[in-house]
């Protein structure tokens, strides 16, 4: 009992440390066979801790963990509430499933000697993302942001395609610009308030003399994060990065990386600056709504014209992030619930979709749309998972995508913006086009040579894929659990108590 209680006390740090230490271990051992089990074990511990945290947070409301016992003014505080516990849960759970999936995909796509490094980088990326989500310290978030970014550049560069190098380089430049903006913004905040702890910053904000410095800080921080979360029009790095990264890395990035950035943006928007701040004549929410709508429509349209399925799904991600930021911009309970639900649901369905494509890549050696023709006949289970994920992206009732869009639509109406609800639904029609194009190729085209030669994906890849696809359906029918967690997150962000 006391042992469990002791673990409970240290849960926040276990969540981050497990993958970090796992990465160190993998890098030290550097044996190909051992690296996968170590990585899975580390992710498992982290996921278990995050899962336990959910219950602890539901009981206590907020869990504060002071690293080294220093007071927040001096040291670093890990602060877990209903908002980031959801993110922790998603990141750890999806990472775990991704790592379970990764073994054969990685063995096929990565040179033997680099496999341990790949897993080490996966774990480092995971630790960085978890750290960004868990920390209550603005500068510590920057450190974790850099940790996750650096490992991500490496992961992308490990892709087989030579264009992966260019994509990684581009992401490196853009990511660095984003991180720089962010750290400049944090610096301005520090100058104005004298602290880096988010909770303390909020306490001291009313005493700040110059609002201009604050607005400048907000601009730097938001634009910096917007680059990381690929908010339109700062999304251009994403399609190439997702498109050319190794399959397992793409799954991890697509389902978790942008989501954590979204969380950070929500934290700053709601927790620090306040969502209803107006920069001169322009309101933050107005700009965010505009950019979100642009993302939903332009990126969806671009997805329709892609010839490579990974890039198609990547553009779809940009559009789906638009839905999430739209939910943030609505800034009411229903809209925020929808945004956080979509973070969860999109992680599940995009994970499933990219996993399915990874399996196709393994069996056919190509992710070009034309090469997927008729794959439904030779890889039916994989194609079913892809279909479910696609239906979820459209938001077909019975899939979780419907539930989150439903909340977004409700949020739009609660805000008195009926036209916005219409735009949400109308943009789904474009999703019908690109998903329809994909499904038409997969199910109705005559199989090509590669597709005919392909066999069903190995079970170790198929099961995780079907698990995520199944969850997409399950959360579409029984949305009680994610809706409760997302609702609690929304309440906390809006300043209430869950």
């Amino acid at each position: 009992m006391s042992f469990l209680a002791a673990i409970d006390q240290h849960l926040p740090v276990i969540v981050v440390l497990a993958p970090l230490l796992g990465a160190v271990l993998v890098a030290l051992v550097r044996v190909e066979i051992a690296s996968w089990p170590i990585a899975v074990l580390a992710a498992l511990i982290s996921a278990a801790a995050a899962f336990r945290l959910v219950f602890v947070v539901e009981q206590l409301g907020v869990v504060s963990y002071r690293l080294g016992g220093f007071a927040p003014e001096l040291g670093i505080e890990y602060r877990v509430d209903a908002v980031n516990v959801l993110i922790l849960l998603v990141v750890t759970a999806v990472s775990l499933v991704t790592l379970l999936y990764a073994r054969q995909s990685v063995a096929a796509e990565i040179d033997g000697g680099r496999v341990p490094w790949f897993y080490a980088m996966m774990l480092v990326a995971m630790a960085g993302l978890l750290g960004m989500a868990i920390t209550g310290d603005a500068f510590n978030a920057f450190v974790f942001l850099e940790i996750s970014s650096l490992s991500t550049y490496t992961l992308i560069a490990l892709g087989r395609d030579r264009r992966a190098l260019v994509a990684a380089y581009q992401y490196l430049i853009v990511g660095t610009i984003g991180a720089t903006f962010y750290v400049i913004g944090v610096g301005l905040l520090y100058l104005a308030t004298g602290t880096l702890n988010l909770a303390l910053i909020v306490e001291r904000l009313p005493d700040v003399v110059s609002p201009r410095a604050l607005i400048a800080a907000e601009a730097f921080i938001l634009v910096g994060i917007a680059l990381k979360l690929a908010l339109f029009p700062l999304h251009a790095w994403l399609p190439n990065a997702y498109g050319y990264a190794p399959s397992a890395a793409t799954v991890l990035l697509a389902s978790t990386a942008t989501k954590v950035a979204v969380y950070l943006m929500a934290r700053f928007l709601f927790g620090v600056f306040g969502i209803h701040v107006e920069i001169g004549p322009v309101s933050v929410t107005g700009v965010l709504i505009l950019l979100s709508l642009a993302a939903m429509f332009v990126a969806s349209l671009a997805a329709v014209f892609q010839r490579d399925v990974k890039r198609l799904l990547a553009f779809s991600s940009v559009a789906q992030i638009g839905y999430i930021t739209l939910g943030l911009a609505l800034a009411n309970p229903a809209g925020l619930t929808g945004a956080f639900l979509h973070i969860v649901n999109h992680a599940l369905m995009k994970g499933a979709a990219f996993m399915a494509i990874g399996a196709v890549l393994l069996r056919c050696g190509s992710s070009r749309l034309d090469d997927l023709a008729g794959i439904g006949r030779t890889m039916p289970a994989t194609a079913v998972a892809l279909t479910i994920a696609g239906l979820g992206l459209i938001g077909v009732p019975g899939t979780s995508g419907f539930v989150s869009k439903w909340y977004l639509v409700l949020g739009a109406f609660d805000d008195g913006k009926g036209w916005l609800a219409f735009m949400i639904v109308a943009s789904s029609v474009i999703a019908v086009l690109y998903v329809g194009r994909l499904l038409e190729v997969v199910w109705f085209r005559e199989p090509g040579k590669a597709a005919l030669a392909a066999s069903e994906a190995p079970l170790s890849m198929l099961l995780p894929t079907l698990l995520l696809a199944g969850l997409t359906i399950f959360f579409g029918i029984d949305a009680e659990m994610p809706a409760r967690l997302a609702g609690a997150a929304a309440t906390v962000l809006l300043g209430g108590h869950p």
Binding site: L234, I279, V409, G418
Partner: protein, 558 residues
């Protein structure tokens, strides 16, 4: 409460759909026919009390609740599913069977839905099921067009429901088309009903199903829309002109069409127009009449589709130009076609006469002269295409008959015979139908002046048919339909637009001597960049980011 859910008529059909997908052989046959029969039993054993409530996403859902409208449509849908299943027994396609049962189950779900959200969910499943019926015949492009059209209608309907929930919850209740929400809802329902300007989807999609699949398609989607209109928009005056246009459109296109099943699809739109007009009137009699006409229409249109399917299966074609002279080799299908056609034309002693009389009575009681005279005229026109042109050119006219390679099986004859007998029985004893359509008992059907009126109308139409037979001879071809609006008009607009812009550019270059090629190159590059938005140069991204930041800071500084 929750055990009422086990009595839901859609439950056995959807379970049956899954079973049919798994099972094969004789067992599959039994499940395929038995589940619609079970649904029929459930339609009548479901108590007409408040349904069970469930909580989902903070909404109260009532997955099943029954009233007399639900029972009427539920009975019609179950009969159509039973008949369709028996008729389809020689069609050994598991995919089509599973899709058809899913489709039938979703249609029952729409009818018995107790709230708007459940209604919408079944509405979408219905669209999926019906699209799968078309896909299962290998018509992937037509199926995709059909699915897109219903996705569009579903989007409108969904947006409307979402807007309406804000003002009054999820309860199914009469709306007035005066707010954006209810207008969107109405538009979404009318898409499914085949109203203008999207009517073309009916005749585009239904003939692409197999000879047996079209029987299912003809029964559910449009009539489910009618049931929903009865519930949500009774007495909506805007429906009267919409229905009249549908009736005229259906008649004209049916008179021109060469493909039997396409003709029957147009006829669906026309007859649904009658129902839409009645709903627009909105008196209790009119609503009951719309329901009764839907019931009868499902039966005779199913019968006609079965007859057409029999011909298609036997001869390999359903084109009037290629048919004729089949009366001797296919007497049963010929009889079925005549009974169905005369019922559609509201010949006395057929069921069509009963329900159409009810609609006309409702119009007369409401003193709606325009609609009354127009629909009476269209009734005469219906006689032209369904009662005369169809059986004459397809079956009766002297011609060297195509060899009927596949005779109707006993199961197909049973299905057609059953539907025909019900039609004739209701025609001879209208009380059979009136008993369970409360509200139309007062309609005078088999009175001498009424019968004489109808007979004169039909004989007059027959005289015209014989006189102008040459104008009605079918030709191979296509009639430009409302799908021109979305299949051709955009191309024309783009062409016209590019021609215009070229002229403008030419004019500009004359004045300012700007090289047109340069402008073209710039605009092309711009298009390229939006389409392949992923291939930005790194510098561009940095530029955009900096620009965004700069704008923020600039605004802050002001």
């Amino acid at each position: 409460m929750a055990e009422t859910l086990l009595l839901a008529p859609w439950l056995p059909l959807i379970v049956g759909s899954l079973l049919v997908a798994v099972l094969r052989g004789r067992v599959q046959d039994i499940v395929f026919v038995a589940t619609p029969a079970l649904a029929l039993i459930l339609v009548w054993s479901l108590p007409q009390t408040a349904g069970p409530d469930f909580n989902w996403l903070g909404l109260t859902l009532t997955p099943v609740v029954s009233d007399s409208t639900a029972r009427l449509f539920g009975t019609a849908f179950a009969l159509a599913a039973i008949g369709g299943a028996i008729f389809a027994l020689p069609q050994r396609s598991s995919a089509e069977r599973a899709a058809a049962l899913l489709y039938a189950g979703a249609a029952q779900g729409v009818i018995f839905a107790g709230d708007l959200v459940t209604l919408f969910l079944f509405w979408e499943v219905m669209a999926i099921g019906s699209a799968l019926v078309i896909f299962s015949n290998g018509a992937s492009r037509a199926g995709l067009r059909y699915a897109l059209m219903h996705a569009f209608g579903g989007v409108l309907f969904f947006a409307g429901i979402a807007a309406s929930i804000g003002s009054g919850g999820t309860a199914i209740r009469p709306f007035a088309a005066d707010s954006i929400g209810s207008l969107l809802m109405l538009a979404g329902i009318l898409v499914n009903a085949g109203a203008p300007p999207v009517s073309a989807w009916v005749a585009d999609a239904y003939p692409r199903a197999s000879w047996s699949g079209a029987v299912f398609l003809s029964a559910f989607t449009t009539k489910a829309a009618i049931a929903v209109l009865i519930r949500l928009f009774p007495g909506e005056a805007a429906l009267i002109p919409v229905g009249l246009i549908m009736a005229v459109y259906g008649m004209i296109y049916a008179l021109l069409e060469n493909d039997i099943r396409r003709m029957l699809s147009y006829s669906i739109v026309g007859q649904v127009g009658f129902m839409v007009v009645a709903i627009g009137i909105g008196t209790p009699l009119a609503l009951a009449a719309a329901g009764a006409h839907a019931f009868v229409h499902i039966l005779y249109k199913g019968l006609l589709m079965m007859a057409a399917g029999t011909v298609l299966r036997a001869t390999g074609t359903a084109r009037l130009t290629a048919l004729g002279g089949l009366a001797r080799s296919m007497p049963f299908a010929t009889c079925a076609m005549i009974v169905g056609g005369l019922s559609l034309s509201a010949m006395p002693l057929t069921a069509g006469f009963v329900s159409k009389s009810a609609i006309m009575q409702a119009l007369a009681d409401d003193h709606d002269a325009v609609a009354w005279f127009a629909l009476t005229a269209i009734s005469a026109g219906s006689m032209l295409y369904a009662g005369l042109r169809l059986p004459w050119f397809a079956m009766l006219r002297p011609s060297t008959p195509r060899p009927a390679t596949l005779q109707a099986t006993p199961a197909m004859k049973l299905a057609m015979g059953g539907a025909g007998l019900i039609l004739l029985a209701i025609g001879a004893a209208p009380g059979l139908l009136m008993r369970f359509v409360p509200g139309i008992e007062s309609v005078a059907v088999l009175t001498s002046d009424h019968i004489l009126f109808q007979l004169q109308l039909l004989v007059g139409a027959s005289i015209c048919f014989v006189l102008f037979l040459r104008l009605l001879v079918p030709h191979a071809g296509t009639t430009v339909d409302t799908d021109w609006l979305w299949r051709c008009l955009p191309q024309l607009l783009v062409k016209a637009g590019s021609a215009l812009s070229r002229q403008v550019l030419a004019a500009l270059s004359l004045k300012s001597r700007v090289d047109t090629r340069k402008i073209q190159a710039i605009s092309e590059a711009w298009v390229q960049r939006t389409m392949h938005a992923g291939n930005w140069r790194t510098g561009d991204i940095a530029l955009v980011a900096t620009a965004l930041l700069g704008i923020c800071l600039l605004i802050a500084a002001m």
